[in-house]
Symmetry: C2
Subunit: 331 residues, 2 copies
DNA sequence: CTGTTAGCGCGTTCAG
DNA sequence: CTGAACGCGCTAACAG
């Protein structure tokens, strides 16, 4: 049992300060239980020795490790970094550290990571899971768990309602005279994708638009690019893509076919993660990912404090951000 | 001391299987020390009770927690997500979990996070630190620490040599007839920035180019955008920006002034994180961030296994990716 | 090969 | 207000 840990322990501090170990512990956790003078002496000794409370030992003793885990399907998708950053910032406010898990869009990897994290965190935030309801419920039964962009009854969840934005997108296209619109599906396990598709379907019905849905894809630039042939074959004059990254691939593909955007074809993305960097600047549905991350952590902290998980379902509405990839339908 | 943990412990499994606790421990950690038959019986009991080894207790006992931490200055900067993903993937191969820290480019936050993580990880990867050498050395003395993009003697480090790519950039511009070039500095605490600037300076000397360096900025789209006035005032015909994000801001700013790129002005970024999504597509210096992340973890794992940190300094070379923001100098 | 026995470092009773 | 003693769950010596 060799340890290279310098490990200044509570006992050493106690010896240095001439008190019992428990007093040292108290000096840190319940300073008001000791004489101010004693506390000061202990603190001084701790400083001198460079004592740092051992997180692990404390966790074993208290059952609280001060960590949470955040699991996302794809860090490289620009939708997530702001969410991750916000999550961390909010966790930090409660002095929690966060484990990050990247599942590469694979349900199995998601399951594995949740299992690995479960043993060392107090709670979990699961963003845009691709896992089945059953598995998620199983994990939620083990530890407090908050969902982002997945609607499972009984589990606290924060939902970014892209439906509202997609509805606006449909109206926008209808006003511009488009009659037939392609929807490029994202992962079929994605709640957001289902929301967007169904919002589009119902809006289309009201507006008298025809919707053609393309098969599910993993949302990447490449996937979007590959889907251009299928889009053009439909004869539609506009498309709404599952997300901006996919839309970006589509935009590139259209350019290669010399299909002018928005003159001959209109395109709308979702999540608005590209800002105005594409050319033409992409019309998109806004995202509120940072807020979602922050809110999820807040809910999780509440659950940890109260010790009980209360039913909660927060919905963040979105809207359409009109830029330059949408225009009147070609004659 | 209330625990809601279902906590099936090793003792319960031992009782169920009719063996000693240590045997249960062995069944998991050193199965070859027990009779296969015994192992099987124990495993069956563990399954039945739903036993899961307690990570924390194990860590306390062994001093090994199976976690590492990765600290980056800005998750939202597209340079980092691939690095983060690669780091995780590589850590996962050794069954390690990773804590992620985002410092928002703030040295103080970096220092704080390193301190918070130190207590619960076996080693650290510190990418593009903004912290002083002294503080980094102090942390490295506590735990095995591997640096990415920071060259401190005595600490294992992986350096992405953007210098080689920047040299090519200078040559490229010289060939196109540019004589006066602006360098838009990144953070002055950034090692990469110093590398790029000095590589550019020395290349310029050889090529007979004049370099004008702008004051350090935090590398963001906004910062780049704000710097356009200063760039144009210099009368230079081309600029090399600290990174792509900054370059993107500059590009937008130039467009607003109706300065045609590359006809009237040439622009080169660094890190090549934007692919061909800007318009015109940005000429940039390649990055090898994913490889750097992977390599850093490999080094860290070696250090953890051997128990000693050996001097190591890996350099990954880069090259110029020519796209459409560079052209002949205006007459 | 297996059971017994100490701790790992800390938080928290329970007496003083 | 303080010190002694126990236990968190597990691992690693040491016996047998």
């Amino acid at each position: 049992m060799i340890k290279r840990d310098k490990g200044v322990t509570i006992s050493q501090v106690a010896a240095e300060a001439g008190v019992a170990r428990s007093s040292v512990s108290r000096a840190f956790r319940h300073p008001d239980m000791l004489l101010p003078e004693t506390v000061e002496r202990i603190m001084k000794a701790a400083q001198a020795l460079g004592y740092v409370p051992n997180h692990t030992a404390r966790a074993l003793s208290t059952g609280r490790h001060g960590n949470i885990a955040l699991v996302v399907p794809d860090i490289a998708n620009p939708f997530f970094p702001p969410l991750i950053a916000a999550t961390q910032l909010e966790a930090d406010r409660s002095d929690f550290c966060v484990f990050l898990g990247n599942t590469e869009e694979k349900p199995a990897q998601e399951d594995k990571l949740l299992g690995r994290f479960a043993g060392q965190v107090e709670g979990l935030v699961l963003a845009s899971p691709r896992l089945s309801d059953e598995r998620i419920l199983a994990h939620a039964a083990q530890r407090p768990l908050v969902l982002i962009n997945r609607d499972i009854k009984g589990i606290p969840r924060v939902l970014i309602d892209s439906g509202s934005g997609v509805r606006q997108a449909a109206e926008h296209l209808a006003e511009l005279g488009h009659r037939k619109i392609v929807y490029v599906n994202g992962p079929h396990t994605s709640w957001s994708n289902r929301e967007r598709r169904s919002a589009l379907r119902s809006a289309a019905r009201k507006l008298g638009l025809e919707i053609v849905a393309l098969p599910p894809i993993v949302p990447t630039y490449q996937s979007g690019h590959r889907t251009v042939d299928a889009i053009l074959e439909t004869g539609a004059t506009a498309a709404i893509a599952f997300d901006d990254i996919t839309a970006q691939g589509i935009l590139a593909g259209l350019a290669e076919y010399n299909v002018a955007v928005p003159e001959r074809f209109s395109l709308i993305g979702c999540d608005d993660v590209l800002g105005a960097v594409t050319y033409p600047a992409l019309t998109s549905v806004s995202n509120r990912s940072a807020e979602a991350g922050r809110l999820a952590v807040t809910l999780l902290m509440e659950a940890l404090q109260s010790g009980s998980i209360r039913e909660a379902r927060y919905v963040l509405e979105t809207h359409l951000v009109v830029r330059n990839t949408t225009g009147p339908a070609p004659a």
